[in-house]
Symmetry: C2
Subunit: 312 residues, 2 copies
Protein backbone atom coordinates (compact mmCIF):
# COMPACT_ATOMS: atom_id res chain seq x y z
CA UNK A 1 0.00 0.00 0.00
CA UNK A 2 1.38 3.39 -0.94
CA UNK A 3 0.30 5.76 1.83
CA UNK A 4 1.49 8.93 0.08
CA UNK A 5 -0.32 8.09 -3.19
CA UNK A 6 -3.56 7.24 -1.36
CA UNK A 7 -3.30 10.42 0.69
CA UNK A 8 -2.85 12.49 -2.47
CA UNK A 9 -5.90 10.70 -3.91
CA UNK A 10 -7.94 11.93 -0.95
CA UNK A 11 -7.93 9.05 1.56
CA UNK A 12 -8.59 10.16 5.14
CA UNK A 13 -7.23 6.87 6.42
CA UNK A 14 -3.96 7.39 4.55
CA UNK A 15 -3.76 10.93 5.97
CA UNK A 16 -4.15 9.54 9.46
CA UNK A 17 -1.56 6.82 8.84
CA UNK A 18 0.98 9.24 7.39
CA UNK A 19 0.73 11.37 10.53
CA UNK A 20 1.14 8.31 12.76
CA UNK A 21 4.23 7.29 10.77
CA UNK A 22 5.84 10.70 11.36
CA UNK A 23 4.76 10.86 15.00
CA UNK A 24 6.20 7.44 15.85
CA UNK A 25 9.22 7.81 13.59
CA UNK A 26 8.38 4.74 11.54
CA UNK A 27 10.95 3.82 8.90
CA UNK A 28 8.59 4.74 6.05
CA UNK A 29 8.09 8.29 7.36
CA UNK A 30 10.96 9.75 5.34
CA UNK A 31 9.77 8.17 2.09
CA UNK A 32 6.24 9.46 2.72
CA UNK A 33 7.46 12.99 3.46
CA UNK A 34 9.68 12.94 0.40
CA UNK A 35 6.76 11.97 -1.87
CA UNK A 36 4.46 14.57 -0.31
CA UNK A 37 6.91 17.47 -0.30
CA UNK A 38 6.34 18.64 -3.91
CA UNK A 39 2.61 18.89 -3.12
CA UNK A 40 3.04 21.22 -0.15
CA UNK A 41 3.10 25.01 0.10
CA UNK A 42 -0.56 25.50 -0.88
CA UNK A 43 -2.22 25.70 2.55
CA UNK A 44 -2.37 28.80 4.71
CA UNK A 45 -1.08 28.01 8.20
CA UNK A 46 -2.44 29.79 11.26
CA UNK A 47 -0.77 29.37 14.66
CA UNK A 48 -2.83 29.83 17.83
CA UNK A 49 -0.93 30.15 21.09
CA UNK A 50 -1.36 31.77 24.49
CA UNK A 51 -1.48 30.92 28.20
CA UNK A 52 -3.55 28.01 29.54
CA UNK A 53 -7.13 29.07 30.22
CA UNK A 54 -7.20 31.76 27.54
CA UNK A 55 -9.80 29.81 25.56
CA UNK A 56 -7.62 28.89 22.59
CA UNK A 57 -9.55 25.72 21.71
CA UNK A 58 -12.93 27.45 21.71
CA UNK A 59 -11.54 30.34 19.68
CA UNK A 60 -9.94 27.97 17.17
CA UNK A 61 -13.23 26.08 16.78
CA UNK A 62 -15.10 29.32 16.05
CA UNK A 63 -12.47 30.45 13.54
CA UNK A 64 -12.63 27.05 11.84
CA UNK A 65 -16.39 27.41 11.40
CA UNK A 66 -15.94 30.75 9.62
CA UNK A 67 -13.49 29.21 7.15
CA UNK A 68 -15.81 26.22 6.69
CA UNK A 69 -18.68 28.59 5.81
CA UNK A 70 -16.35 30.04 3.15
CA UNK A 71 -16.12 26.51 1.73
CA UNK A 72 -12.51 25.98 2.79
CA UNK A 73 -11.27 22.65 4.15
CA UNK A 74 -9.44 22.80 7.45
CA UNK A 75 -6.78 20.85 9.36
CA UNK A 76 -6.28 21.31 13.10
CA UNK A 77 -3.13 20.20 14.90
CA UNK A 78 -3.44 20.50 18.68
CA UNK A 79 0.04 20.26 20.20
CA UNK A 80 0.80 19.69 23.87
CA UNK A 81 4.53 19.82 24.63
CA UNK A 82 4.04 19.91 28.41
CA UNK A 83 3.39 16.29 29.12
CA UNK A 84 5.22 13.25 27.80
CA UNK A 85 2.51 10.79 28.79
CA UNK A 86 -0.83 12.45 29.33
CA UNK A 87 -0.71 15.20 26.70
CA UNK A 88 -2.47 13.18 24.05
CA UNK A 89 -5.18 12.13 26.44
CA UNK A 90 -5.91 15.64 27.69
CA UNK A 91 -6.28 16.96 24.18
CA UNK A 92 -8.19 13.81 23.31
CA UNK A 93 -10.88 14.75 25.82
CA UNK A 94 -11.31 18.06 24.13
CA UNK A 95 -11.54 16.44 20.76
CA UNK A 96 -14.05 13.79 21.71
CA UNK A 97 -16.44 16.54 22.73
CA UNK A 98 -15.89 18.52 19.60
CA UNK A 99 -18.68 18.78 17.08
CA UNK A 100 -16.13 19.62 14.38
CA UNK A 101 -15.13 15.95 14.31
CA UNK A 102 -18.44 15.24 12.57
CA UNK A 103 -17.50 17.56 9.69
CA UNK A 104 -15.84 15.70 6.81
CA UNK A 105 -14.15 18.94 5.73
CA UNK A 106 -12.20 19.13 9.00
CA UNK A 107 -9.33 16.89 10.08
CA UNK A 108 -8.21 17.10 13.70
CA UNK A 109 -5.10 15.57 15.21
CA UNK A 110 -3.54 16.02 18.62
CA UNK A 111 0.17 15.57 19.28
CA UNK A 112 2.23 15.20 22.46
CA UNK A 113 5.85 14.39 23.10
CA UNK A 114 5.07 10.66 23.71
CA UNK A 115 8.16 10.14 25.78
CA UNK A 116 10.61 11.25 23.12
CA UNK A 117 11.88 14.63 24.21
CA UNK A 118 12.56 17.20 21.57
CA UNK A 119 11.66 16.90 17.94
CA UNK A 120 8.06 17.93 18.56
CA UNK A 121 8.34 21.17 16.62
CA UNK A 122 9.89 19.34 13.67
CA UNK A 123 7.18 16.69 13.78
CA UNK A 124 4.51 19.37 13.94
CA UNK A 125 6.01 21.02 10.85
CA UNK A 126 5.87 17.64 9.09
CA UNK A 127 2.24 17.10 10.08
CA UNK A 128 1.46 20.58 8.68
CA UNK A 129 3.04 19.46 5.40
CA UNK A 130 1.06 16.21 5.40
CA UNK A 131 -2.26 18.05 5.86
CA UNK A 132 -1.12 20.59 3.26
CA UNK A 133 -0.41 17.82 0.72
CA UNK A 134 -3.79 16.29 1.59
CA UNK A 135 -5.37 19.48 0.24
CA UNK A 136 -6.44 21.28 3.42
CA UNK A 137 -6.89 24.97 2.56
CA UNK A 138 -6.29 26.29 6.06
CA UNK A 139 -4.28 24.56 8.79
CA UNK A 140 -4.45 25.55 12.44
CA UNK A 141 -1.58 24.77 14.80
CA UNK A 142 -2.83 25.21 18.35
CA UNK A 143 -0.63 24.86 21.46
CA UNK A 144 -1.70 24.37 25.08
CA UNK A 145 0.52 26.96 26.70
CA UNK A 146 3.28 29.48 26.18
CA UNK A 147 6.90 28.61 26.49
CA UNK A 148 9.93 28.05 24.34
CA UNK A 149 8.52 24.79 22.99
CA UNK A 150 5.34 26.55 21.92
CA UNK A 151 7.30 29.37 20.29
CA UNK A 152 9.24 26.78 18.27
CA UNK A 153 6.03 24.98 17.32
CA UNK A 154 4.17 28.02 15.99
CA UNK A 155 7.15 28.83 13.76
CA UNK A 156 5.41 26.55 11.25
CA UNK A 157 2.65 29.20 10.92
CA UNK A 158 2.23 31.97 8.36
CA UNK A 159 0.08 34.03 10.72
CA UNK A 160 0.38 33.59 14.48
CA UNK A 161 -2.57 34.53 16.65
CA UNK A 162 -1.64 35.08 20.30
CA UNK A 163 -4.66 34.66 22.58
CA UNK A 164 -4.60 36.59 25.85
CA UNK A 165 -7.20 36.96 28.56
CA UNK A 166 -7.81 39.69 31.16
CA UNK A 167 -6.90 39.01 34.79
CA UNK A 168 -4.02 36.57 34.48
CA UNK A 169 -2.11 38.27 37.27
CA UNK A 170 1.55 38.84 37.92
CA UNK A 171 3.02 36.48 35.39
CA UNK A 172 1.41 38.26 32.46
CA UNK A 173 4.43 40.50 32.00
CA UNK A 174 6.72 37.51 31.58
CA UNK A 175 4.26 35.78 29.28
CA UNK A 176 3.70 38.85 27.18
CA UNK A 177 7.37 39.58 26.73
CA UNK A 178 8.09 36.09 25.44
CA UNK A 179 5.28 36.01 22.89
CA UNK A 180 5.21 39.63 21.81
CA UNK A 181 7.64 38.96 19.03
CA UNK A 182 5.77 35.99 17.58
CA UNK A 183 2.28 37.54 17.52
CA UNK A 184 1.06 38.85 14.16
CA UNK A 185 -2.46 39.23 15.54
CA UNK A 186 -3.49 39.43 19.18
CA UNK A 187 -6.88 38.24 20.37
CA UNK A 188 -7.98 39.44 23.80
CA UNK A 189 -10.48 36.70 24.54
CA UNK A 190 -13.14 36.72 27.29
CA UNK A 191 -13.19 40.45 26.56
CA UNK A 192 -16.42 40.82 28.55
CA UNK A 193 -14.33 40.37 31.68
CA UNK A 194 -13.00 43.24 33.72
CA UNK A 195 -9.57 44.40 32.63
CA UNK A 196 -9.97 43.79 28.88
CA UNK A 197 -9.48 47.48 28.05
CA UNK A 198 -6.50 47.80 30.36
CA UNK A 199 -4.90 44.70 28.84
CA UNK A 200 -5.44 46.16 25.38
CA UNK A 201 -3.84 49.45 26.42
CA UNK A 202 -0.87 47.66 27.99
CA UNK A 203 -0.43 45.48 24.95
CA UNK A 204 -0.57 48.48 22.63
CA UNK A 205 2.07 50.17 24.72
CA UNK A 206 4.34 47.13 24.60
CA UNK A 207 3.89 46.78 20.85
CA UNK A 208 4.77 50.46 20.40
CA UNK A 209 7.91 49.99 22.48
CA UNK A 210 8.98 46.86 20.59
CA UNK A 211 12.39 47.48 19.08
CA UNK A 212 12.20 44.89 16.30
CA UNK A 213 9.54 46.78 14.36
CA UNK A 214 8.55 45.38 10.99
CA UNK A 215 6.29 46.80 8.30
CA UNK A 216 3.35 44.95 9.89
CA UNK A 217 2.10 46.47 13.12
CA UNK A 218 0.37 43.60 14.99
CA UNK A 219 -3.39 44.13 15.35
CA UNK A 220 -5.37 43.60 18.53
CA UNK A 221 -8.92 42.25 18.45
CA UNK A 222 -11.29 41.62 21.34
CA UNK A 223 -13.32 38.41 21.30
CA UNK A 224 -15.74 36.45 23.45
CA UNK A 225 -15.21 33.09 21.77
CA UNK A 226 -17.89 31.06 23.53
CA UNK A 227 -20.50 33.70 22.63
CA UNK A 228 -19.18 33.96 19.08
CA UNK A 229 -18.35 37.67 19.46
CA UNK A 230 -15.55 39.26 17.45
CA UNK A 231 -14.82 36.12 15.45
CA UNK A 232 -15.58 37.51 11.98
CA UNK A 233 -13.46 40.58 12.79
CA UNK A 234 -10.60 38.34 13.89
CA UNK A 235 -10.81 36.36 10.64
CA UNK A 236 -10.81 39.64 8.70
CA UNK A 237 -7.63 40.68 10.54
CA UNK A 238 -5.96 37.33 9.84
CA UNK A 239 -6.89 37.75 6.16
CA UNK A 240 -5.44 41.28 6.22
CA UNK A 241 -2.19 39.90 7.58
CA UNK A 242 -2.18 37.17 4.93
CA UNK A 243 -2.69 39.82 2.24
CA UNK A 244 0.13 41.91 3.70
CA UNK A 245 2.47 38.91 3.66
CA UNK A 246 1.60 38.26 0.02
CA UNK A 247 1.95 41.79 -1.35
CA UNK A 248 5.05 42.70 0.68
CA UNK A 249 6.97 39.60 -0.37
CA UNK A 250 7.18 38.70 3.30
CA UNK A 251 5.43 35.35 2.78
CA UNK A 252 8.13 34.15 0.40
CA UNK A 253 10.80 35.49 2.75
CA UNK A 254 9.26 33.76 5.77
CA UNK A 255 8.74 30.49 3.99
CA UNK A 256 12.28 30.51 2.59
CA UNK A 257 13.65 31.17 6.08
CA UNK A 258 11.48 28.33 7.37
CA UNK A 259 12.73 25.98 4.64
CA UNK A 260 16.28 26.95 5.58
CA UNK A 261 15.71 26.21 9.28
CA UNK A 262 13.95 22.95 8.53
CA UNK A 263 16.82 21.90 6.29
CA UNK A 264 19.32 22.67 9.04
CA UNK A 265 17.26 20.67 11.55
CA UNK A 266 17.04 17.75 9.13
CA UNK A 267 20.78 17.82 8.43
CA UNK A 268 21.49 17.82 12.16
CA UNK A 269 19.05 15.02 12.80
CA UNK A 270 20.07 12.74 9.94
CA UNK A 271 23.82 13.16 10.28
CA UNK A 272 23.78 12.72 14.04
CA UNK A 273 21.42 9.79 13.69
CA UNK A 274 23.73 8.07 11.23
CA UNK A 275 26.87 8.59 13.31
CA UNK A 276 25.25 7.86 16.66
CA UNK A 277 23.67 4.66 15.34
CA UNK A 278 27.09 3.50 14.27
CA UNK A 279 28.75 4.41 17.57
CA UNK A 280 25.94 2.88 19.64
CA UNK A 281 25.94 -0.32 17.57
CA UNK A 282 29.63 -0.85 18.22
CA UNK A 283 29.06 -0.56 21.98
CA UNK A 284 31.38 2.45 22.02
CA UNK A 285 28.75 4.84 23.37
CA UNK A 286 28.30 3.04 26.69
CA UNK A 287 32.05 2.65 27.15
CA UNK A 288 32.58 6.34 26.44
CA UNK A 289 29.78 7.36 28.84
CA UNK A 290 31.36 5.30 31.63
CA UNK A 291 34.79 6.82 30.91
CA UNK A 292 33.22 10.29 31.09
CA UNK A 293 31.35 9.60 34.34
CA UNK A 294 34.63 8.47 35.89
CA UNK A 295 36.46 11.50 34.41
CA UNK A 296 38.94 9.23 32.59
CA UNK A 297 38.15 11.16 29.42
CA UNK A 298 36.66 14.52 28.54
CA UNK A 299 33.79 14.86 26.04
CA UNK A 300 35.58 17.40 23.86
CA UNK A 301 38.51 15.09 23.18
CA UNK A 302 36.08 12.27 22.35
CA UNK A 303 34.08 14.38 19.91
CA UNK A 304 37.27 15.57 18.23
CA UNK A 305 38.30 11.94 17.68
CA UNK A 306 34.86 11.05 16.34
CA UNK A 307 34.82 14.01 13.95
CA UNK A 308 38.16 12.94 12.55
CA UNK A 309 36.90 9.38 12.14
CA UNK A 310 33.57 10.12 10.50
CA UNK A 311 33.95 13.30 8.49
CA UNK A 312 35.71 13.53 5.17
Amino acid sequence: MDIAAELLAGSRLALSRAITAVENEYDEATAIMQQLYPHTGQAYVIGVTGPPGAGKSTLTDKLVKVYRRQGKTVGIIAVDPTSPFSGGAILGDRIRMNELTLDEGVFIRSMGTRGSLGGLSRKTADVVKIMDAAGKDVIFVETVGVGQSEVDIVKAADTTVVVLVPGLGDDIQAIKAGILEIGDVFAINKADREGAERLKAELNMMLDLDQAKSAWRPSIRQTVANAGQGIEELVATIDEHAAFLGTSGELVRRRTARARNELIALIEEQISHRILKDIAASGQLDALAAALAERREDPYAIVKRLLAAYLR
Copy 2:
Protein backbone atom coordinates in the same frame (compact mmCIF):
# COMPACT_ATOMS: atom_id res chain seq x y z
CA MET B 1 45.14 35.04 30.80
CA ASP B 2 44.13 31.45 31.47
CA ILE B 3 40.53 31.61 32.69
CA ALA B 4 40.32 27.92 33.62
CA ALA B 5 43.53 27.99 35.68
CA GLU B 6 42.46 31.15 37.49
CA LEU B 7 39.02 29.68 38.17
CA LEU B 8 40.58 26.53 39.61
CA ALA B 9 42.77 28.77 41.79
CA GLY B 10 39.60 30.34 43.23
CA SER B 11 39.02 33.51 41.20
CA ARG B 12 35.39 34.71 41.24
CA LEU B 13 36.09 36.92 38.25
CA ALA B 14 37.38 33.94 36.25
CA LEU B 15 34.29 31.96 37.28
CA SER B 16 32.07 34.73 35.99
CA ARG B 17 34.06 35.02 32.75
CA ALA B 18 33.98 31.28 32.11
CA ILE B 19 30.17 31.32 32.39
CA THR B 20 29.93 34.29 30.03
CA ALA B 21 32.13 32.47 27.52
CA VAL B 22 29.81 29.44 27.54
CA GLU B 23 26.66 31.55 27.50
CA ASN B 24 27.76 33.61 24.50
CA GLU B 25 29.45 30.70 22.74
CA TYR B 26 32.84 32.43 22.63
CA ASP B 27 35.56 30.50 20.81
CA GLU B 28 37.48 29.83 24.01
CA ALA B 29 34.47 28.16 25.68
CA THR B 30 35.39 24.67 24.49
CA ALA B 31 38.99 24.95 25.69
CA ILE B 32 37.78 26.20 29.09
CA MET B 33 35.27 23.38 29.46
CA GLN B 34 37.87 20.85 28.42
CA GLN B 35 40.31 22.07 31.09
CA LEU B 36 37.61 22.14 33.77
CA TYR B 37 36.04 18.76 32.99
CA PRO B 38 38.45 16.58 35.05
CA HIS B 39 37.68 18.77 38.09
CA THR B 40 33.92 18.22 37.93
CA GLY B 41 31.68 15.61 39.53
CA GLN B 42 32.27 16.76 43.13
CA ALA B 43 29.27 19.05 43.65
CA TYR B 44 25.77 17.91 44.55
CA VAL B 45 23.25 19.37 42.12
CA ILE B 46 19.70 20.22 43.21
CA GLY B 47 17.05 21.16 40.64
CA VAL B 48 14.13 23.38 41.69
CA THR B 49 11.19 23.61 39.31
CA GLY B 50 7.45 24.22 39.45
CA PRO B 51 4.76 26.57 38.13
CA PRO B 52 5.19 30.37 38.20
CA GLY B 53 4.08 31.84 41.50
CA ALA B 54 4.91 28.72 43.54
CA GLY B 55 7.63 30.60 45.41
CA LYS B 56 10.62 28.76 44.00
CA SER B 57 13.08 31.65 44.43
CA THR B 58 12.15 32.21 48.06
CA LEU B 59 12.33 28.50 48.77
CA THR B 60 15.71 28.21 47.06
CA ASP B 61 17.06 31.13 49.09
CA LYS B 62 15.96 29.48 52.35
CA LEU B 63 17.47 26.13 51.33
CA VAL B 64 20.73 27.88 50.43
CA LYS B 65 20.91 29.43 53.89
CA VAL B 66 20.63 26.00 55.52
CA TYR B 67 23.53 24.68 53.44
CA ARG B 68 25.53 27.83 54.20
CA ARG B 69 25.02 27.28 57.93
CA GLN B 70 26.47 23.79 57.36
CA GLY B 71 29.55 25.54 55.98
CA LYS B 72 28.95 24.47 52.39
CA THR B 73 29.57 26.78 49.44
CA VAL B 74 26.70 27.21 47.02
CA GLY B 75 26.14 28.03 43.37
CA ILE B 76 22.71 29.15 42.10
CA ILE B 77 21.77 29.07 38.42
CA ALA B 78 18.41 30.73 37.76
CA VAL B 79 17.23 29.75 34.28
CA ASP B 80 14.43 31.39 32.34
CA PRO B 81 13.70 29.67 29.03
CA THR B 82 10.46 31.58 28.40
CA SER B 83 11.78 34.83 27.10
CA PRO B 84 14.50 35.43 24.55
CA PHE B 85 14.94 39.07 25.45
CA SER B 86 13.62 39.90 28.88
CA GLY B 87 14.36 36.68 30.77
CA GLY B 88 17.70 37.83 32.06
CA ALA B 89 16.29 41.13 33.18
CA ILE B 90 13.37 39.59 35.09
CA LEU B 91 15.64 37.24 36.99
CA GLY B 92 18.10 40.10 37.37
CA ASP B 93 15.52 42.06 39.36
CA ARG B 94 15.14 39.15 41.72
CA ILE B 95 18.85 38.85 42.12
CA ARG B 96 19.56 42.51 42.75
CA MET B 97 17.23 42.38 45.72
CA ASN B 98 18.77 39.23 47.09
CA GLU B 99 20.77 39.38 50.31
CA LEU B 100 22.58 36.20 49.28
CA THR B 101 24.57 38.26 46.81
CA LEU B 102 26.43 39.74 49.78
CA ASP B 103 27.62 36.27 50.85
CA GLU B 104 31.06 35.39 49.42
CA GLY B 105 30.23 31.69 49.75
CA VAL B 106 27.36 31.99 47.27
CA PHE B 107 27.64 32.54 43.53
CA ILE B 108 24.45 33.44 41.65
CA ARG B 109 23.98 33.55 37.90
CA SER B 110 20.84 33.95 35.82
CA MET B 111 20.51 32.60 32.29
CA GLY B 112 18.03 33.22 29.51
CA THR B 113 17.89 32.15 25.88
CA ARG B 114 19.37 35.48 24.69
CA GLY B 115 17.83 35.12 21.28
CA SER B 116 19.49 31.82 20.46
CA LEU B 117 16.76 29.20 20.63
CA GLY B 118 17.65 25.81 21.94
CA GLY B 119 20.91 24.89 23.58
CA LEU B 120 19.84 26.37 26.91
CA SER B 121 19.74 23.03 28.69
CA ARG B 122 23.22 22.15 27.39
CA LYS B 123 24.55 25.55 28.44
CA THR B 124 22.99 25.16 31.87
CA ALA B 125 24.71 21.77 32.21
CA ASP B 126 28.01 23.45 31.29
CA VAL B 127 27.48 26.22 33.85
CA VAL B 128 26.80 23.53 36.47
CA LYS B 129 30.17 21.99 35.57
CA ILE B 130 31.90 25.37 35.76
CA MET B 131 30.56 26.04 39.27
CA ASP B 132 31.39 22.44 40.20
CA ALA B 133 35.01 22.87 39.07
CA ALA B 134 35.11 26.17 40.97
CA GLY B 135 34.54 24.13 44.12
CA LYS B 136 30.91 24.86 44.98
CA ASP B 137 29.67 22.07 47.24
CA VAL B 138 25.99 22.40 46.34
CA ILE B 139 24.61 23.81 43.09
CA PHE B 140 20.99 24.84 42.65
CA VAL B 141 19.40 24.94 39.21
CA GLU B 142 16.16 26.90 39.45
CA THR B 143 13.71 27.37 36.57
CA VAL B 144 10.93 29.94 36.23
CA GLY B 145 8.15 27.67 35.09
CA VAL B 146 7.21 24.16 34.03
CA GLY B 147 7.41 22.99 30.48
CA GLN B 148 9.51 20.79 28.28
CA SER B 149 12.41 23.26 28.38
CA GLU B 150 12.39 23.20 32.17
CA VAL B 151 12.26 19.41 32.24
CA ASP B 152 15.33 19.31 30.00
CA ILE B 153 17.12 21.87 32.16
CA VAL B 154 16.62 20.09 35.49
CA LYS B 155 18.07 16.92 33.97
CA ALA B 156 21.41 18.34 35.11
CA ALA B 157 20.30 17.77 38.73
CA ASP B 158 20.98 14.84 41.07
CA THR B 159 17.88 15.60 43.15
CA THR B 160 14.94 17.45 41.64
CA VAL B 161 12.60 19.35 43.95
CA VAL B 162 9.22 20.11 42.37
CA VAL B 163 7.54 23.06 44.08
CA LEU B 164 3.74 23.12 44.01
CA VAL B 165 1.26 25.48 45.61
CA PRO B 166 -2.39 25.04 46.62
CA GLY B 167 -5.10 26.69 44.54
CA LEU B 168 -3.56 26.71 41.08
CA GLY B 169 -6.86 25.75 39.49
CA ASP B 170 -7.75 23.62 36.50
CA ASP B 171 -4.36 23.40 34.91
CA ILE B 172 -2.83 21.66 37.89
CA GLN B 173 -3.63 18.24 36.44
CA ALA B 174 -1.67 19.01 33.30
CA ILE B 175 1.20 20.53 35.25
CA LYS B 176 1.37 17.66 37.70
CA ALA B 177 1.36 14.98 35.04
CA GLY B 178 4.28 16.54 33.20
CA ILE B 179 6.50 16.93 36.23
CA LEU B 180 5.50 13.89 38.25
CA GLU B 181 8.20 11.81 36.67
CA ILE B 182 11.01 14.27 37.30
CA GLY B 183 10.26 15.01 40.97
CA ASP B 184 12.39 13.20 43.54
CA VAL B 185 11.05 15.42 46.29
CA PHE B 186 7.86 17.49 46.22
CA ALA B 187 7.50 20.68 48.22
CA ILE B 188 3.97 21.97 48.73
CA ASN B 189 4.81 25.59 49.39
CA LYS B 190 2.50 28.23 50.86
CA ALA B 191 1.11 25.28 52.80
CA ASP B 192 -0.74 27.65 55.14
CA ARG B 193 -3.16 28.28 52.29
CA GLU B 194 -6.42 26.45 51.89
CA GLY B 195 -6.16 23.29 49.85
CA ALA B 196 -2.66 22.22 50.95
CA GLU B 197 -3.90 18.96 52.46
CA ARG B 198 -6.06 18.20 49.43
CA LEU B 199 -3.12 18.86 47.10
CA LYS B 200 -0.96 16.52 49.20
CA ALA B 201 -3.61 13.79 49.06
CA GLU B 202 -4.01 14.20 45.27
CA LEU B 203 -0.26 14.14 44.78
CA ASN B 204 0.11 11.02 46.93
CA MET B 205 -2.58 9.35 44.86
CA MET B 206 -0.88 10.25 41.59
CA LEU B 207 2.48 9.05 42.89
CA ASP B 208 0.91 5.74 43.94
CA LEU B 209 -0.62 5.34 40.48
CA ASP B 210 2.63 6.13 38.71
CA GLN B 211 3.57 3.18 36.51
CA ALA B 212 7.30 3.86 36.29
CA LYS B 213 7.96 3.09 39.93
CA SER B 214 11.56 3.10 41.09
CA ALA B 215 13.10 2.06 44.41
CA TRP B 216 12.73 5.68 45.60
CA ARG B 217 9.19 6.73 46.39
CA PRO B 218 9.15 10.55 46.05
CA SER B 219 8.59 12.35 49.36
CA ILE B 220 6.19 15.23 49.89
CA ARG B 221 7.00 18.04 52.32
CA GLN B 222 4.89 21.07 53.21
CA THR B 223 6.65 24.42 53.48
CA VAL B 224 5.90 28.10 54.02
CA ALA B 225 9.10 29.45 52.54
CA ASN B 226 8.72 33.12 53.37
CA ALA B 227 8.07 32.22 57.04
CA GLY B 228 10.94 29.73 57.04
CA GLN B 229 8.62 26.81 57.90
CA GLY B 230 9.46 23.26 56.83
CA ILE B 231 12.83 24.20 55.35
CA GLU B 232 15.04 22.07 57.60
CA GLU B 233 12.71 19.10 56.99
CA LEU B 234 12.94 19.67 53.24
CA VAL B 235 16.75 19.72 53.42
CA ALA B 236 16.64 16.49 55.48
CA THR B 237 14.51 14.89 52.74
CA ILE B 238 16.89 16.08 50.01
CA ASP B 239 19.77 14.61 52.03
CA GLU B 240 17.83 11.34 52.38
CA HIS B 241 17.40 11.20 48.62
CA ALA B 242 21.10 11.95 48.13
CA ALA B 243 21.98 9.12 50.53
CA PHE B 244 19.61 6.78 48.67
CA LEU B 245 21.25 7.67 45.34
CA GLY B 246 24.66 6.94 46.82
CA THR B 247 23.94 3.63 48.52
CA SER B 248 21.73 2.23 45.74
CA GLY B 249 24.27 2.93 43.01
CA GLU B 250 21.64 5.12 41.36
CA LEU B 251 23.88 8.22 41.49
CA VAL B 252 26.53 6.54 39.33
CA ARG B 253 23.83 5.21 37.01
CA ARG B 254 22.20 8.66 36.69
CA ARG B 255 25.47 10.45 36.15
CA THR B 256 26.60 7.92 33.55
CA ALA B 257 23.29 8.30 31.71
CA ARG B 258 23.73 12.05 31.89
CA ALA B 259 27.29 11.85 30.55
CA ARG B 260 25.96 9.69 27.69
CA ASN B 261 23.22 12.20 26.82
CA GLU B 262 25.60 15.12 27.04
CA LEU B 263 28.06 13.33 24.77
CA ILE B 264 25.29 12.70 22.23
CA ALA B 265 24.25 16.37 22.37
CA LEU B 266 27.86 17.47 21.91
CA ILE B 267 28.39 15.12 18.97
CA GLU B 268 25.21 16.44 17.33
CA GLU B 269 26.19 20.03 17.96
CA GLN B 270 29.82 19.81 16.86
CA ILE B 271 29.26 17.68 13.78
CA SER B 272 26.30 19.73 12.58
CA HIS B 273 28.17 22.93 13.35
CA ARG B 274 31.16 21.81 11.28
CA ILE B 275 29.08 20.73 8.30
CA LEU B 276 26.64 23.64 8.43
CA LYS B 277 29.47 26.17 8.67
CA ASP B 278 30.96 24.69 5.55
CA ILE B 279 27.66 24.66 3.65
CA ALA B 280 26.73 28.18 4.75
CA ALA B 281 30.18 29.54 3.89
CA SER B 282 29.89 28.23 0.34
CA GLY B 283 26.55 30.03 -0.09
CA GLN B 284 24.91 26.65 -0.70
CA LEU B 285 22.52 26.95 2.23
CA ASP B 286 20.67 29.98 0.87
CA ALA B 287 20.46 28.49 -2.62
CA LEU B 288 19.09 25.24 -1.18
CA ALA B 289 16.55 27.08 0.97
CA ALA B 290 15.28 28.98 -2.07
CA ALA B 291 15.03 25.74 -4.08
CA LEU B 292 13.03 24.19 -1.23
CA ALA B 293 10.67 27.12 -0.87
CA GLU B 294 9.94 26.90 -4.60
CA ARG B 295 9.59 23.08 -4.36
CA ARG B 296 12.30 22.56 -6.96
CA GLU B 297 13.97 20.16 -4.53
CA ASP B 298 12.93 18.17 -1.50
CA PRO B 299 14.88 18.32 1.77
CA TYR B 300 15.36 14.55 2.04
CA ALA B 301 17.16 14.33 -1.29
CA ILE B 302 19.38 17.28 -0.29
CA VAL B 303 20.34 15.73 3.03
CA LYS B 304 21.11 12.40 1.34
CA ARG B 305 23.49 14.21 -1.03
CA LEU B 306 25.13 16.08 1.84
CA LEU B 307 25.59 12.91 3.89
CA ALA B 308 27.32 11.26 0.95
CA ALA B 309 29.56 14.28 0.50
CA TYR B 310 30.59 14.81 4.11
CA LEU B 311 30.61 11.42 5.80
CA ARG B 312 33.29 8.81 5.31
